[in-house]
Amino acid sequence: MDLRRVKEYFSWLYYQYQIISCCAVLEPWERSMFNTILLTIIAMVVYTAYVFIPIHIRLAWEFFSKICGYHSTISN
């Protein structure tokens, strides 16, 4: 029962996406082309985030801690 409601909710959400992005008025081949391109872009964004964000956060943390450390050594 719960699974059916979740499925209904997702199909309603997909329908909302379709009417907001005009997929509802496009022909089927245009629709699949648009969905493919959108999923590709989202996949690339997710992959980039997964690979690079931890490294960027670590670098930023080191940079700022070096600045604060430098500042504290100066004031001493």
Partner: protein, 552 residues
């Protein structure tokens, strides 16, 4: 003040109606209405009437999604045009001939691009053929398309008893034949159908004279003249009234017939912001102070063109202020009451009665018989010398064939019905039923949370949809539920403000309106259309300005 044709009973009911409407308005004004004038002492002066209208702004994410939707549609449009150009896809639209390829292109501007790529995809929601009288219920012919709306074919089936929320049938007089239309049958037997002449030659019948006298009596003016077509009344008579050296001040959202008439006349046209008296006053001051552009001579005539009820916005013109301005700056006023005659006002006599003003203060009263009277044609009414001048000089009188006799008889019958001259009060009841239906419908829609434009007394109700995908989905779903609606998109409205326009009718019963409202509720939840947050409108209303001095 308005004087209905009935006796004291009518008068008594009229006063109650007015009080009731004022009470409702003061309750509504705590919501998102823009309250213009405050209610003062008990004397019913037209300034006491609260003008409650709202033009709420949509939330930001809605506008972002709307433009995004149009952007995606445009991208796919470019893709399809590219494919059509290079022959990968067959082109069904109009193109130039092979010999004309090097000429200046005919079909490349935005309008044609929009028509080919965006309008074609959802074209099945417009031009739907019907096969019955456009009463409260009507029959729609079913049609399908095999190639994505480039061509249609009829399946042969008919969708019966669709609730009609789109026809301009405000008083419910556009209905099938019934016994009260017997006089039309008699006129048809005596006069036939065609007139076969123009007014100047042999096309003036005694039916026309009877009709014109009746129209003048209905509107409480000196004289009137009727024409065969409403659009042609505007476009052919404005050139007869103004010419070169005159100034026309026309509202931003005027109908095409007024714009065409103004352009044909050759006068200078200046536009003021929709229903905005400050903008109009600024233009009038500039016109009076600076005169004509190069020679600085005074303008020969200044004509203000407004409409009674604007059909795309549902707003009612701010008539008292415009008449005050007109008297102050000595300009002439032309009101197009196409949607307001018969539909607005306590006895259906239009915006002048709605505001309690004297119709003699408006110079030219124009209207059509298409909307509230179930016929076709238009009229121009005013002082006798104006109408006599038009009888001689109007293009429509010289060249267009005059009104057909059965149609004239239908209008005569409707006018007599409305004025109570046929011995019943049914006409007045229709007007009051329309007002009740209008208020109920608008109030329920606002409670549900939709964004509705316009004055709360106007029977034209635009419901904002914004996104092009939702426009198509809305119209199709409503037809599946057997409710016929009219949706309007880009060229008729601004790009981002697509809407569904409902026309409430006196023929709608409470049950029909409830059915429609339930369906709208469901649609609103399915398509997420309930955008209203009861915020104040975005249009700048400069009510706090006490002085209108403008620095140069």
């Amino acid at each position: 003040m308005a004087n209905p044709g009935g006796g004291t009973v009518c008068n008594g009911k009229l006063h109650n109606h007015k009080k009731q409407s004022n009470g409702l308005q003061s309750r509504n004004c705590t919501k998102n209405g823009i309250v213009k004038e405050a209610q003062q002492n008990g004397r019913t002066h037209f300034y006491d009437k609260l003008i409650v209208e709202s033009f709420e702004e949509a939330p930001l994410h809605v506008m972002v999604f709307t433009y995004m939707g149009y952007g995606i549609g445009t991208l796919f449009g470019y893709l399809r045009d590219f494919m059509r150009n290079w022959g990968i896809e067959k082109c069904n639209a109009a193109v130039e001939r092979k010999e004309q390829r090097d000429f200046v292109p005919l079909y490349q501007d935005f309008e044609n691009f929009y028509t080919r790529n965006l309008y074609m995809r959802i074209r099945d929601n417009w031009n739907r053929p019907i096969c019955s009288a456009p009463g409260a219920l009507f029959d729609v012919m079913e049609r399908v398309s095999d190639d994505y709306n480039w061509t249609f074919r009829f399946t042969g089936r008919v969708i019966k008893d669709v609730i009609n929320m789109g026809s301009y049938n405000f008083l419910g007089l556009a209905a099938k034949y019934d016994e009260s239309m017997r006089t039309i049958k008699d006129v048809l037997e005596v006069y036939g159908t065609g007139v076969a002449s123009t007014r100047h030659e042999m096309g003036t019948l005694d039916k026309h004279k009877e009709l014109e006298d009746l129209v003048a009596k209905f509107l409480n003016v000196e004289a009137a003249m009727v024409f065969g077509m409403g659009f042609a009344t505007n476009s052919m008579n404005i050139p007869a009234l103004v010419g070169k050296g005159c100034l026309i001040l026309s509202d931003e959202l005027n109908h095409t017939s007024l714009v065409l008439g103004a352009r044909l006349s050759g006068a200078t046209i200046r536009i003021f912001k929709h229903n905005n008296t400050q903008s109009l006053e600024k233009l009038l001051r500039d016109a009076v102070i600076y005169g004509q552009p190069r020679t600085r001579r005074a303008w020969k005539k200044i004509l203000i063109l407004v409409e009674g009820v604007y059909s795309m916005e549902g707003s009612i013109v701010h008539l008292p202020q415009i008449i005050a301005l007109k008297k102050k700056y000595k300009a002439y006023l032309y009101i197009d009451e196409a949607h307001s005659i018969g539909a607005v006002g306590p006895t259906g006599r239009g915006v002048t009665e709605f505001f309690g003003l004297d119709p003699h203060e408006v110079d030219v009263l124009m209207g059509t018989f298409t909307k509230s009277f179930g016929a076709a044609g238009g009229y121009i009414a005013g002082r006798k010398d104006l109408v006599d001048y038009l009888r001689v000089h109007s293009h429509s009188a010289v060249y267009a064939s005059s009104m057909s006799p059965p149609i004239a008889e239908q209008i005569i019958r409707s006018l007599k019905h409305l004025m109570g001259m046929d011995g019943t009060t049914q006409g007045l009841q229709r007007v009051r039923q329309l007002a009740k239906n209008t208020r109920y419908f608008r109030q329920r829609l606002q409670e549900m949370g939709f964004i509705i434009y316009g004055n709360e007394n106007s029977p034209v109700v635009p419901l904002l949809l914004y996104m092009p995908g939702k426009v198509a989905a809305f119209a199709r779903h409503m037809l599946e539920k057997k409710i016929g609606v009219v949706v309007v998109g880009f060229p008729a409205t601004p790009l981002a403000e697509a809407r569904a326009r409902f026309c409430v009718s006196a023929a709608h019963t409470r049950e029909m309106l409830d059915t429609v409202l339930e369906a709208l509720d469901e649609m609103g939840d399915l398509l997420q259309l309930k955008y209203s947050r009861h915020k104040k409108s975005a249009r700048p209303e400069l009510y706090d300005e006490t002085s209108f001095e403008l620095e140069d």
